[in-house]
């Protein structure tokens, strides 16, 4: 009897969160699944159209394959760069010097700035043909780069999330602190140099964290919307047109909510598939401290 009462109280405490989840997450998610099978525009009553949206997307929409390839390329560029950069900086920040706290703060700051008009103006200022980057290049004797040319624009906007590597870096710092110093000492006694220690102690013990960051950043990158939206608006010539932009454009610029829902669900399936793939490969390279392979 006592356990039952306890359970009831527990559920009551959970109720606000459950209600919020149901109202603001579960209900919209399943509504959008339903809408993806309708022709909902913004003001009409939705009419069931079966798989028409999906057929349109895969067979008749020239921008969908473009958006998908852009998104995948973007992910393959931005995620390794961001995670790699975060790891390198985190390693540097474990060195005990003066002002180390200041350096950590400064490197972390960009990640809390998010995306905004101010950031987009900053990016323009940096990467305009007469912007700061090209001025620096000029000073170093290199030719100016056309950062917003259709061939380079995707790379330029992917620098925004890479610049905001702070959150990944902080997680790496925590992970690095958890590696027992004895292992390094043992390695040094056995004659391992810095690189060997890195390869055989740091990386394996950090691998769960690398795995975590990789998966989280991959999911974020596949959904990316802010950086193309504020910097290039999806242009030039759809070079920075990511799936996130496509969903927004279809839903809010063209008022085609049903179609936008279909694209959203397709994106979700893509993210799910890639995440499962990464999880499966993790068997081979992620080591957990309890000795079991992942």
């Amino acid at each position: 009897m006592r356990t039952n009462r306890r359970s009831r109280v527990a559920y009551l405490y959970l109720l606000p969160w459950l209600l919020g989840f149901a109202l603001f997450h579960a209900f919209p998610i399943f509504s959008s699944l339903w809408y993806s099978f309708t022709n909902l525009r913004v003001t009409n009553a939705p009419r069931f159209v079966g798989l028409a949206n999906y057929v349109q997307m895969f067979l008749h929409d020239p921008l969908f394959p473009k958006a998908m390839s852009n998104t995948l390329i973007y992910t393959m560029v931005a995620v390794p760069a961001k995670v790699g950069f975060a790891l390198v900086i985190a390693l540097l920040l474990t060195i005990r010097t003066r002002f180390i706290g200041l350096y950590r703060t400064v490197y972390y700051l960009p990640s809390i700035l998010g995306g905004s008009v101010v950031i987009s103006i900053l990016w323009r200022f940096l990467f305009m043909t007469e912007g700061l980057m090209n001025t620096i290049f000029g000073a170093l004797g290199a030719a100016p780069v056309r950062w917003f040319d259709p061939n380079l624009a995707l790379f330029t906007i992917s620098l925004l999330p890479v610049w905001q590597f702070g959150s990944s870096m902080v997680i790496f710092l925590a992970g690095l602190k958890n590696i027992p110093q004895e292992l390094y000492e043992a390695g040094r006694i056995d004659g391992a140099g810095r690189i060997a220690l890195f390869r055989h102690v740091t990386i394996p013990l950090l691998s769960p964290i690398i795995f975590f960051n990789l998966v989280m950043q991959m999911i974020n990158a596949l959904q990316e919307f802010t950086s193309p939206f504020i910097i290039t608006g999806g242009g030039p010539l759809h070079a920075t047109y990511l799936l996130g932009m496509k969903i927004w454009e279809e839903g809010f610029s063209f008022s085609r909510m049903g179609y936008a829902s279909a694209v959203s669900w397709t994106l979700m399936i893509i993210i799910l598939t890639l995440t499962v793939v990464v999880f499966t490969t993790s068997r081979f390279w992620v080591f957990y401290e309890d000795g079991k392979k992942a």
Partner: protein, 432 residues
């Protein structure tokens, strides 16, 4: 103990839900929301007009919702979808085809007939832009025309005569010379979207003498015509007369923000007259004047649009139609409103308002002159469908293909016309 815990938790829940649902009905005095876009000076002027109205009508409160142009349409569409659009809405005439087709957005002003004095508006202008299916759905704030905005200080310095009837060929010629003299200078600055509305469309309209896309979802220009228009843009780029697109695209339609304009390294840009004020403010110590939009020799029509600067409408679903109508009447016709609004929404469309401004010496001569020049040479109105986002994006894509050197004008024209026809067919099918 346990029972009290349960009671407390439930009470907490009820309080939360209660707070969420506390939207009481407003009784008595009216609260209106007025949404518009603009720059700082327009916001200040509009707020002053609202304040003047509230002073005379203490039982009406007007909440101002203002922002910049970027994202205004998307926000409006979202609000319309959610039923939360403002009571008084400022729209661009380009919004009308899409939103009127959707229905249920703009109120038929015939419903508040006696409350708004519409005698000051030109009936022909209203018929062209504001009356759909016999219903008056909005009122024009000002007259907007297309013009060539010129940095005369720069032109004088470089020995280029700025006062003339510009043609497209002259722009190419002067542009080539200017850029050859100083590679940092570009004669013409336009973003991709601007190139469509201010160069490509007038060029094609002048060439074909038609309004390009008809309401029947047909087009009146060929692939060859479009190839000629795109070819002209390519020639400008190759000659260094037009700023390369990768340097202008990020500023969108806000050319005054482009460093080339601010640093007086650009001689001209083509845009609506509403930009004259911003262009002047951005190029601080330069003398900015306007001239008539460029035409081609043997143009079949001017291709110059005279449009409403903005349209003020009432929300079909407003709870206070009478109060809203009273404000709109005050906004357009009352002296106190007219003199604070000045020319923030271009030359007023109401004749009496123009007189009031002239009497007080508040007319910006350059702006008034630019509008008059356009009005004198007004061409056909472009087909309403050209303002449809998806349609104009196809044309913009064509311009970008040529602008970034990804396709020849002929190929780009071919792809663009094909996409355009496909899109028009799709839009037509959707109306059934």
């Amino acid at each position: 103990m346990k029972k009290i815990q349960i009671v407390l938790i439930v009470a907490l829940l009820v309080a939360c839900v209660g707070a969420l649902g506390a939207t009481g009905k407003d009784e008595g005095p009216a609260t209106l929301r007025f949404s518009w876009w603009g720059g700082e000076s327009r916001h200040k002027a509009t707020l002053a007009s609202i304040a003047a109205f509230q002073a005379k009508n203490p039982n009406v409160k007007i909440e101002a919702e203002y922002m910049g142009w970027e994202g205004y349409f998307d926000k409006l569409v979202t609000q319309v979808a959610g039923g939360s659009a403002a009571d008084i809405i400022q729209s661009d005439y380009k919004f009308f085809p899409q939103l009127v087709a959707q229905g249920g957005v703009y109120m038929d002003l015939g419903k508040v007939k006696g409350l708004i004095d519409t005698s000051g508006f030109e009936p022909e202008f209203l018929k062209k832009w504001c009356i759909y299916d016999g219903k008056l759905l909005g009122l024009p704030t000002g007259l907007n025309s297309q013009t060539a905005i010129i940095n005369t200080t720069l032109m004088n310095k470089e020995g280029i005569a700025w006062q003339r009837s510009w043609t497209w060929d002259m722009i190419l010629e002067e542009g080539k010379k200017l850029h050859a003299k100083n590679p940092a200078y570009y004669f013409l600055v336009q973003g991709p979207e601007n190139l469509v509305y201010q160069v490509l469309m007038p060029y094609l309209m002048q060439m074909t003498g038609t309004n390009l896309i008809q309401d029947a979802y047909t087009i009146s220009f060929t692939k060859d015509d479009l190839a000629k228009g795109l070819g002209y843009i390519k020639t400008l780029l190759d000659a260094g007369a037009l700023l390369p697109l990768d340097q202008s695209a990020m500023f969108g339609v806000n050319i005054p923000e482009n460093p080339k304009w601010v640093n007086a390294q650009a001689a001209m840009y083509l845009n609506f007259t509403t930009h004259v004020v911003t262009a002047k403010a951005a190029a601080k110590d330069q003398v900015i004047k306007t001239q008539r939009l460029p035409m081609m020799n043997g143009a079949k029509q001017s291709g110059i649009l005279v449009t409403p600067a903005q349209l003020i409408s009432l929300n079909e679903k407003t709870k206070y139609p009478k109060a809203a109508a009273q404000f709109v009447d005050f906004f357009f016709n009352n002296h106190d409103s007219v003199v604070v609004l000045k020319m923030e929404r271009s030359v007023p469309a109401v004749a009496k308002a123009r007189e009031m401004l002239s009497a007080e010496g508040l007319m910006d001569g350059d702006l008034a002159e630019a509008v008059a020049m356009g009005a004198k040479n007004v061409g056909l109105a472009i087909g309403g469908l050209l303002n449809h986002t998806e349609v104009s994006k196809i044309l913009q894509n064509g311009v970008e293909l040529v602008g970034y050197g990804k396709a020849s004008p002929a190929d780009a024209a071919s792809t663009t016309v094909d996409s355009l026809l496909a899109k028009l067919a799709q839009l037509k099918a959707a109306t059934k």
